[in-house]
Every structure is written in C-alpha cells, then in structure tokens.
Symmetry: D5
Subunit: 93 residues, 10 copies
C-alpha cells in the first residue's frame, strides 16, 4: 500500500557543519537503499522549506514506520503520514 | 492492519422520520455484518454528538474505503481515517 | 512541473442518480484524457471520503488550473494545490 | 469507562543514550503493569512519529490521570484524552 | 464525574416563532429536570452567541450522552464535551 | 462575574526538584487564599496534562488578571480566559 | 468593563431588498441608542467583509449579551466577544 | 498604501447561466475601471479554485472597502485583506 | 488610519530582574511618547496573559511598523496587526 | 511563473549585534541581486513583525527554492510559498 509522507527537518541551525554533512550523507545513502527496495518511490521538496513530500510503499503502517525510523535524520524529522487508497481508475489501468 | 475511523453523521435534521429509521436500521444491519466479518472491531459514541469513533481492520485502505462506503449512511458521513501501526509492546504479547 | 492536488467532491447528496452518473462518466472520460496527455500522473482515494489526492504535471499553475476546470465535476470540487520541487536525489537519478 | 489517549513523546533529541534507555525500559515495565491491571487495553504507534494512540479503561478521569502520570516518560509526554461512550450496538452484544 | 459541555444552538433563523417557542419551553423544562436530578449543575451563556457552557455530572460518558440527547433542542445543538478530573485541592477540601 | 480559566503549566521539565516543590507549595497556598476570598470557586485537572480548568469570580477582568498573576506559577502558565454570562435559567433560581 | 466584539453579518444574499433595508435601518437606529447609552463606544468595519469590530462597555457579560441581542440583525450575526482589562498605563492617566 | 486581498467566490453552483455571465461581465468591467484608477494593480488566480489574490492600492482601508464592495460579485465574495508596509529595500529604490 | 494591534510578550521567564525592570520602564516611557504623539490611543490587557490589545493610529502600515519597532520590548513581542476602516456610522457623527 | 512568498525571520533575539548586522547586510545584497535578476519583483513588510511578503518570479518551484536558499538568512526563515496563476484579465492586457 502507498503512503504520502510529509517531513519537516528540524535539525537545529547551530548543528556543526561536519555533523550536518555526515547526517545528510547518511540520509542520502539510506534513502537510496529505500528507493532500491521499492519503499521510497518519489520525493519532492516543499519549495522554500527544509521539508519534503514523499511517496512511499510498504506492507503496512508498521513497516513504513520502521523504514522512516531507519533514516539517520529521523530524530529531527517531524513526520505526518497519510495512507492512500488506490483509485479504481488506476486499478482498471 | 487497523484504522481509527472518526465519523460525523450529517443527515439533515429535517429528514422524515421513516427515512431516518430506515437508514438507521440499515446502518445497524450492515455494521453487524462488518463486525461478523472482523472489519468493525470496536465502536464508540462521541458523547453529545451524532458521531462515532470506530476501530476497523482491513487488508488495506482501499478495502477499508469499500467497507465504509457500503454503509447506508455513507453519503451523509464526514469520515476521517487514521492508519495505525501495531505497537511492538503488543507484537511481543 | 508537478503539483499535488487534493480535491473534495461536494456534489449534493440529493443530486438525482442520473445526473450523478452522467457527471461521474464525464469525469472518468476527462480524467482519462488528462492521463493520456501526461497531465494526470497518479490518482488516489482518501479512504472514507469522497475525495482524491492526485499528482499532476503541467507547464505552470495557469495550465494546471485550466486542466482542473475542464473536469465536469469542477464546480463541486473543493481543490487545494501544492506546487512541488523535484528533489535533487531524483534529478541525479 | 474507556478513553482514547493520544501521546506525543517530546523527550529532547540530545538526551543521553543511557538515560533514554532507562526511561524506555521503565516505560515498558509500567505499561505492562497497566496492561495487567486492565487499564491499558490497546496501544498503537502513529506511523512516522514518536507518538502513540492508546485505549485505556479507568473508573474516571482522575484515575486515568493518575495512571498516565505514573509513566516514567510522563514529564515529556504531550497527552490529549478523549472520553468515549460505549455504543449501544456494543452494549447489545 | 464532571463534564464541561459547550453547546452551539444552530436552529435555523427562519424557524417559525411558535415552533421556536415550543422548543425553548421544552428545553427549559427538560433542563430543570436535569438540574433536579443533579445532572446539570451550572449553566452559562457565551456572551453574544446563541451558545452555552454547562457543567454536568453523570456516571459516565454514555449517561451524559443520553442526558444531552434528551433535550428537545438536541438535533440542532453542536456539542463538545470535555471530561474533567477532580483536582486534588478539591478532594482534600 | 464569572470566568472560565484554562491554564497550561509550562514549567521546564528540568526545573530542580526543590524549586518545583517550593513553587507547588506556594501555588497551593495562594490558591487556598483565592478560594477563601471567593475568587477561585472550582478547579479541575485536564486529564493527562499538567493543566487545569478553573471557575473564577472577580469584579472585572482587571481584578481577575491581578488574582491570576498573584500565583507563584504565573510566569510559567499559559492562560486563556473566557468571560461567561449568568444564564437566565440560573438567575430565575 | 470593556469588550472587543467581532461580528460577521451572515444575512443571506437573497434576502429581499426591502427586508434588508428595514433591518439595516433598525440596526442603525438601535446602534445609535447603544451609543447614546454609552454601551457602544467605537465601531469599525473589517475591510472587504460584511463584518465589524466594536468596542463596547457594559456592567458585565450578561448586560453585554442583552445589548447585542437587542440589535435587529442579531439572529444573523456570528459574534465573538473578548473581555479586556484596563491597562495600568491607562488607569494611571 | 497597498493591500493583499484574497477573495473566494461563493456564487452558488446552481446560479442560472445568464445571471452568472451577467455577473462575470460586470465584474470584469468594474475590475477594469479599478485598474485604470490605479486601485487594482495585480490579479492572480489561486490554481484549482474559484478564487483570486489581488494587489490593491488605496488611500486607506475605508477606500479599499468601498472599492471591493463596488464589484458586482461582492455579495458572494469571502474576502480577507492584509495591509502591507512598503519594505525599506523598495523605498530606497 | 486606525489599527488593532495584538501583542504577546515572550520575554524569557529567566530574564534577570534588573534587565526586565529596565525593559519595562523603557517600554512605559516609549508608550507614553506614542500616546502623546497620538499614535497609541488605547491599551488593554488580555486577562491572564502577558499580552495587550492596543488601538493605534498611524499614517500607514509602514509608520505603524516603525512605531511598534521603536518599543524597547519589540524583539520579544509577537505582534499581529489588523487594519480597520472607520464605520460610516462614525463618519456621520 | 509567479509565487507569493511569506517569510518569518526567526533569528534568535540574542544573536550578537555584529553577526546580526553581517547577516542583514548579506541579505540586502543578495536580495538586490535577485531583484536585478528579475526573481524578486516586490517585497513588503508585515507590519509589526520581523516578516515579509514577497512576489517572486522563477522558472519552476525548484528554481525558486534555490533562490530562497541562497539568502544568507535562509536557515532562520520560516517560509511558505504559494504558486499563483496569471489571471486571464491580465493575460488580455
């Protein structure tokens, strides 16, 4: 099933540059793994914000939760998840 | 997977009594079927309101949607669904 | 550019069945055209609601507006649009 | 009577690991006691968040308050409680 | 247990005067009964609005729900209930 | 005149125990004085929160303000006041 | 004591012109009486809306309620009242 | 001074086509006059909605109010106005 | 033109007493100047809060902004401004 | 395409004066460049707040995002972007 995931990054502004870069690199690497595993399907930036909207696929909300918590930035992310239902128009395709 | 479903009944106050009773009877009958099918697991009233909170189980959001739309009152219900993840404490039980 | 489009259908409950079916058929047909034109890329149902979330692509907000207003249901849709920016992770792909 | 309890954990990100583990272990132990006492009946995770939704049973709001405040994490939890009424459908069961 | 009950009266402005007076008289009579039964303990008007805040006492939310629904105006009332816990300061008194 | 006063206590979690106890003791003592002066008439806990709802009586909003600011916890309280009007039902009693 | 009163006029657009003019004339006349009685002290328009902000003075919320309900438009007004406290700066003047 | 004006058009869907066209034509004509008078400086559509954002210039809020109320659609517009201050960066230009 | 100005004082609770007194004295002195200049016309306290509602008069929003920023407390004030239009009832007076 | 950009500056009050001046100077310089590049078209202050509303033009949301993130104050800005569609009235001009 698919989920729309809105995520605001609240890493403090005064986080040391090195720590920040390390977290970002880890985030990119883990996101890539989630893409390859078919969990992260699309990712957009919310313009003007340190925030993203993502389209995820997971077996259930618990699996999605585990995927999101595996991101190195997770402790600083304010995340809202919306479970979506496939629309009949698409099922028919 | 389980869903918390909040539902406000907005059937107009001036609906004829017969029509109202017919809808309520149909609603009860369908809810009973959903209970027996294991889809509707718990149902509470929001005190003071013509509204309910329900705990549902369905394979995915699309199946939940179909179950909710099968209720005779569906056209008058303002529904908000929240997908929940089983807590590890319970998985361990 | 891509847009996330949230759409609540507020067609009155007492709309005659024939009119409703006619509108729905027209909606499906127009949506199919928008899909084929690459404007409507994904469509989901918000479970429990007569509402959808769609992923659209259009040259600019004016073109998106025209596409959305070309839907036969448009006069009854309460629509909120969010313009999204491609994430660098995807640009790199 | 039953209560729906929504709880956001706001323990600071920079809490030392040991302190965090100690609090979590205490939380699990106390939650288990509340389960055995029939106070905590169900617990879900809000996917993507350090937050839970719980179904509690207590004699009255004061007893529920005391139960919630007995959790070691209580000082960091932002809690919202909703008192629910048994639905006649269930009373009839 | 005690409840704070906020109630907005949404009886349509164009309700015939007689019907309105009949409803108000019935409302007053039923409210008086609830007072005598110890269910309705205090009642205030929200200044400038056709709305009240009431302090109710009932065995549980289901009993409160039944009391509120017994008011003749109930179909036109938009009600929000908050369950309150006796404060230890008062228990000690 | 009467006021409904909602008060969230935002004393930081890491306030030293002694300071916290001193403030609580002072708060209880001052609240008792306000009770005896007929200013604080009822006090409830919002279950699950470090928050209260109180029923106050004061000559006017300025007198209420002075009473609330005389509480030792005042600098940490986030307070919302609602002025209520006696309901004619009660004036008639 | 003084109150800030925000009032949205929700008289239906299709109210016959004569009825509308009659209500407006009555509103002006009653507002003038409230001014002369010292109850209505200032009145502003919210630009772009059929809405006003007013500064009222009354003995208590019940007296304010009666004054507001004496306006011929009262059944169509959505009113929010805020009780204000004289600021010490002004008391000193 | 300049104002940002957000305007939602709530003309009922079932307004007869002729009446709707007459209103739209009148709206366009009056808007053109306001442009020529330097009152309406820019106008945008909110994509997906029957709504606009406009940049207006007027001597004061009362003059803006009169301009907005001179639009034939005014009775059906839900308008929110925000008064803006010229930024020093622009004053310096 | 007149403005309604709502201002929440967010000076940290742990600001040293001397600094706080110095700021308050400066605030009072500057407010007095604004009164004498006819900019600050009325000031109220929001009961229970470290907040005020003020009625200001200024040539335009930029002049109001400069006046508000001239207050020594400005860096700690969370301010919301509403531009009001003189009501025709008052213009006629 | 054009965007309305609302931006709240949350630079901490206790930022050293020098650092603050350096950031402001950099902000002005970069804003000037964006003006000259035709990206920043208008800028207003929200009266009473350390906040602005800006009218920007960019090829797409990603380009706008890059422009906004190029401002030295970006890490402290809370930004909300609204994509606007040119109104047919203006296209016709």
């Amino acid at each position: 099933m698919e989920f729309l995931v809105r995520s605001e990054n609240q890493l403090p502004v005064d986080t040391p540059v090195e720590r920040r870069q390390e977290l970002r690199a880890g985030e990119r690497a883990r996101a890539l793994e989630l893409r390859e595993a078919g969990v992260l399907k699309r990712l957009w930036r919310v313009p003007g914000r340190n925030a993203t909207v993502g389209l995820y696929e997971a077996d259930d909300p618990a699996a999605l939760h585990d995927a999101l918590m595996s991101l190195p930035m997770a402790p600083w992310l304010d995340v809202h998840v919306e479970a979506l239902a496939t629309h009949p128009q698409e099922r028919a395709t």
